[in-house]
Amino acid sequence: MSTFVESSDEEARELFRRLTERPADLLRFATAGSVDDGKSTLIGRLLYDSKQVLTDQLEHVEQTSQRMGHDFLDLSLLTDGLRAEREQGITIDVAYRYFATAQRRFIIADTPGHEQYTRNMVTGASTADLAIVLVDARKGVLAQSKRHAFISSLLAIPHVVVCVNKMDLVAYDEAVFDSIVDEFDRFAARLEMSDVTFIPISALHGDNVVERSTAMPWYQGPPLLYHLEHVHIASDRNLIDARFPVQWVIRPPSSSVADYRAYAGQVAGGVMRPGDDVLVLPGGQRSTIAAIDTFEGSVAEAFPPMSVALRLSDEIDVGRGSMIVRPQNQPTVSGRFEALLCWMSERPLDRRRRYVVKHTTRTAIVGGLEVRYRIDVETLHRDERATALELNDLGRVRIELNAPLVFDSYRRNRTTGSLIVIDEATNETVAAGVILDTEVDELEPAPKSERSPNVRWQGTRMTRDRRWRALGHPGATIWFTGLPGAGKSTMAAAVEERLIVAGQSAFLLDGDNLRHGLNGDLGFDEAARRENVRRTAHVAQLIAESGTVALVSLVSPYAADREFAAKLHAGVELEFIEIFVDAPLELCEQRDPKGLYARARAGELAGLTGIGAPYERPEDPDLVLGTLEESVERGVERVLELLAARDILRDAP
């Protein structure tokens, strides 16, 4: 029979206080690994070493370990529910486990790593704050590890931890670990992953799981549990865009509470306060938040993931499926969009079947569902000939609905950017999808102002001609492209100085500086770089229009993106000058003014242009500056000559 720790009143109160007062938060993580990488052992180890395994469970593990002839505790038995099933060939799915430490409460979504189970990983990862990807030290980065990394990036899991397991079987060798880190980084560079941490562990012996390993003094980082306890997740939520999908209208009979009407739901983004102006979509009615109610009474603010009820100051038509937002920060309202789908049903996508989409609290019938391509999750290759999706396939589709949804791109908001597809005949959930930001994710430039079709350009009485004449010089954009460290910023800054001193308004837009503010939300994958260029090009265009010479210093590695910038200017007849600052990679790396190359080589920085990401040389730039062979002064002279030839320089006073 079990006995309890007898606790005195005093102790009980103390323990109770600690439990209730500690500001513990909740971290959800998904674990993924190929069969036998040691996932069950790792989870068992986490539970066991953090003292979460209860006596009766442990007895079961001890007995079974003995029966199987082990001389050690087979901790994988703690979580072997799935294994038994796998052997019997029945449901394989996500299993949830729970444990807590003094710092945090954890929910583990344990997903079987067999290659067939993309669907399970998507399920487990959909709500995860963090993903643990297991790699067997002896086997290195397998196709399945790549699949796990890819899915983590698609589902925008904010943090990824790569656990290189079974280090005991490779003599705890640092070189083995390093080469796996390298290989993983090379693959990850092609994905959008913001925070990747590598930890060498032995799940079997407990090295670097809960306790720091003594066998790997070369590893300076924390053990896994410490990382799980301390990784910063509070800012992973979107606290900027107010989004409140209405689930339910609370309307008591007037006999009990007179005239009470509140819109209940869970905050999906932003911070909402009484007095806020709001807009109800898709209807478009405006009102103000009168109060934010909870069972305990009204509160001063609501933020994700709180469930509350909003009362509005006006009697307007709001029901389930409406979304309450702020008028100056609106999601997209449309029945047409593109999404990445993970197909989850045995029955392949079939356009003759009737599907519905459930998104936030809205449901709409699918009118058109066209597969653009299927993605091979291991090679990232796009199969453009694909016309259907099968179980565990990932593909990009164009969806057309009979009614609009109110959405953001998934990258922007995981709640307002996700959806499921349901087969009307079987009621099965056949796919999970993430909505893509078509402007950013689209290779060909999106139709102009597609997302804000009703916004008109505000004309002013000041014409370009009057403006430029009054200022005494025209505006233009000079675009410096080249590898990091090639000398773009140096050149651009020198040109800026010469122009200003000569009385001509000029302004340097430095890529790095822009990433502190305007572009601070962007990463470095292809889509983010494209968006970076798009925004910068628009800002440059406005500056040029104002009669200033905009000097853009931006790596802008893709020809298509630079072409977008050029076309944007050509479209409004503004001068656009492309200058290629050409320096050999070796030289850039040697200069390495920001230490980027060193970090990339050390595996700390994925996707640095020139190392982990491509740079497409301009084919026909207006000017090539070779910073290896010519001085800065000489380069500046050549730029000024070109500006003079194009009539951009201020007439000598």
């Binding site: 029979m1 079990s2 309890f4 720790v5 007898e6 606790s7 009143d9 009980a12 109160r13 323990l15 109770f16 439990l19 500001p23 938060d25 909740l26 209860l54 006596t55 009766d56 469970q57 529910g81 029945i90 449901t91 799915d93 299993a95 949830y96 729970y98 945090r104 409460r105 929910i107 344990d110 399920t123 959909s126 709500t127 509070a234 800012s235 606290l239 689930q247 339910w248 008591p252 009990s256 509470v257 009470y260 209940a264 739901g265 869970q266 933020f303 993931p305 709180m306 469930s307 989850m344 459930k358 609290t361 995981r414 709640t415 996700s418 499921i420 349901i422 009621n427 959930t429 999970a432």
Partner: protein, 304 residues
């Protein structure tokens, strides 16, 4: 942006998610029902329903499947609580099912009405036309539950088919069912036993007195302590004695074991659970000990 200050403690996060589930189900099903036993998990469910729908009445009924072998303290509490919150209670009685010949009472010292209540429950669901039933099951209770969905689908015979369960991604619940089918809904799936107690303490919810240490006539069987009652026969060698015990779950007197404990207040119970070394089910549910696969089998038959 003081982003980091918008902090929601883990219990309030779990609460917000559970409230979200309840509102989704109320909105998407025609006739949900909330199952209330008077036990701690269903006490939490009732509070969550208040959080989700007040100041309006619940948009569903509350139902108890009464085996007739419940602890009198639990029944007394059940009626009082329902009265307090002003909702309607339906009682589906196993006694009636026996009288109507729907089920046959087991006999012998190990007889229990636990298995019988499945039939009573399914009959009541059919009779009232319920299409969704909220239950207080948690995934941490037992290994077979670890992969249970928040919305769990039952066919027209009330059976749980592993293959037919739907993937649950994000918080997007697919609530579509066919006529005759129904769903079991577990809003506190992600809560642990400790969470439940902590929540009860924070919310200052009343629970039946048997959850606290009290003096009781018990006897020992299979390493567990059972209450001496008219519903369970003692067999040779078993001997009644008096002990200070409390219950960790509220089930039938015939198959719910007590634990020796001196925890007499909520705080002490929470402290005890936090320091506990044995899982709730392993310790106090005789019916789960029968076989490892006990739970899975019963789930297939329509039990929770």
């Amino acid at each position: 942006m003081p982003a980091a200050t918008y902090h929601l403690p883990h219990l309030r996060t779990l609460e917000a998610e559970a409230v979200h589930v309840m509102r989704e189900v109320a909105a998407e099903f025609e006739r949900p029902v909330l199952l209330f036993s008077g036990g701690k998990d269903s006490i939490v469910l009732l509070r969550l329903a208040e959080k989700a729908f007040r100041p309006a009445p619940f948009p569903f009924a509350v139902m108890h499947v009464d085996t007739g072998h419940n602890f009198p303290e639990a029944i007394e509490f059940r009626d009082r609580r329902i009265e307090e919150i002003g909702e309607r209670l339906i009682v589906a009685s196993v006694e009636d099912s026996i009288r109507q010949g729907r089920v046959v009472e087991q006999t012998g010292p190990r007889a229990s009405r636990n298995a019988l209540q499945t039939v009573t429950l399914l009959d009541a669901i059919r009779e009232h036309g319920f299409d969704a039933a909220f239950g207080g099951a948690r995934r941490d209770e037992e290994r077979a539950r670890a992969k249970e969905r928040v919305l769990s689908f039952r066919d027209e015979f009330g059976q749980w088919e592993p293959q037919r369960q739907r993937p649950e991604v994000w918080a997007l619940y697919n609530a579509r069912i066919r006529n005759g089918e129904h769903a079991r809904v577990f809003p506190i799936s992600n809560w642990t036993e400790l969470d439940v107690w902590q929540y009860i303490a924070e919310e200052q919810l009343e629970v039946p007195s048997i959850y606290f240490a009290h003096e009781r006539e018990v006897f020992e069987r299979d390493g567990m302590l059972y209450a001496v009652s008219p519903f369970i026969e003692m067999i040779d060698g078993e001997r009644a004695f008096s002990a200070t015990v409390r219950y960790r779950t509220v089930g039938d007197m015939s198959c719910t074991g007590a634990v020796e404990s001196s925890a007499a207040t909520l705080e002490q119970v929470v402290a005890e659970i936090a320091a506990t070394e044995v899982t709730e089910r392993g310790q106090t549910r005789a019916d789960d000990r029968v076989s490892e696969a006990a739970m899975e089998d019963r789930k297939r038959q329509g039990y929770f």
